[in-house]
């Protein structure tokens, strides 16, 4: 799956779970400070992303996902590994 496909999918999840405007969900944005996604919403985003992209994102890796771009890269790598 391409980076832009993952980004679009992630933006849809962010909109549904945390009410983020898809136009704001760009790679450079941080979840917490820029998009106001709090720690529990982040868990819901991760759970939805696992389902949507068929990847595993363990708890210990969630903290390293600071920006939307971090998550896109992680999902792409995890998808290749799977």
């Amino acid at each position: 799956m391409s980076q832009s496909d993952i980004l679009a999918g992630l933006a849809a999840i962010l909109e549904e779970v945390a009410g983020v405007d898809p136009a704001d969900a760009t790679a450079d944005k941080t979840f917490i400070d820029d998009l106001d996604v709090d720690s529990l919403s982040m868990v819901e985003v991760v759970v939805a992303a696992e389902e949507k992209f068929g990847v595993k994102i363990p708890d210990e890796d969630v903290k390293s996902l600071k920006t939307v771009g971090d998550a896109v890269s992680y999902i792409q790598r995890a998808g290749v590994a799977a």
């Binding site: 709090d38 720690s39 529990l40 982040m42 868990v43 819901e44 991760v46 759970v47 708890d59 969630v62």
Partner: protein, 312 residues
Amino acid sequence: MTGSRLMGLGTYRPARVVTNDDLARRVATSDEWVRARTGIAARRIADADETIVSMGSMAAEKALASAGIDAADLDMVLLATCTNPSQIPGSGPQIAHRLGAGRAGALDLNAGCAGFSYALSMASDMVRAGSARHVMVVAAERLSDYTDWDDRSTCVLLADGAGAAVVGPAVTREIGPAVWGHDGGKAGAIRVPGYGDNLFRMEGQTVFRWAIALTPIVRRACELAGFAPADIAGVVPHQANLRIIDALVNGIGATNAVIARDVVDAGNTSAASIPLAFSRLLDGGRLQPGDPVLLFGFGAGLTYCGQVVRCP
């Protein structure tokens, strides 16, 4: 084998109300921040004389009155708590003593926030097996004794209180089969380390993720009791945090049920939260005698237990 039923409930809520603004004077937080992340607006915090034993006894006395039986009729007192002031002695026998339950067995059990559902299940099985006719299930907690008042991620959640239920015999099974399970591999996610460190710690994201994945198990409790989710009149999950409650309940399909939201002004009282929240729905007339209600406790262990019961 005979059935079992809930005969009566009772509660004790500490007098002192602590608001989010009160906490904001001590830690960097705000009413808006706490409400948005937890749904909690206020909580009850016990004073020195509101102990596990005193709060539990008062809740139990109300449950006896509601059930219409005497303490002398009790064969067993089960106390669910994870916040005893010390490991030894347990508080269950002291509650039995204070009640005047002279011929009852008495013990404590610790299943964290799932304690009430586990104790209720054991009480029901004791009655059905004939080893007890009437069992007092008490859940009493003083989480404030273990709260780190400088940790803004947990001090806004934790609270104190007690609830109790009398379980007795019935022709049919008014207390449904329990679903239960654990993830002891995540034991560190909710902990009081001990050995000199007596402050509560929690990995909030780990617990949240574990809890919201329990939805299919919650649904299973309905199936085991013979109810479609749409036939459930009320859902009383452990009152951890409104975000968990909403996420957990959304997937059940209990479309006609009133959902307990006692956490908003009671905070998280661990094992006591289910009987407190359940009683409030009954007392407020939002549930009627005979209504099927789904109870589901989950938390430290990590462990969970739930069942469908008929309202007393």
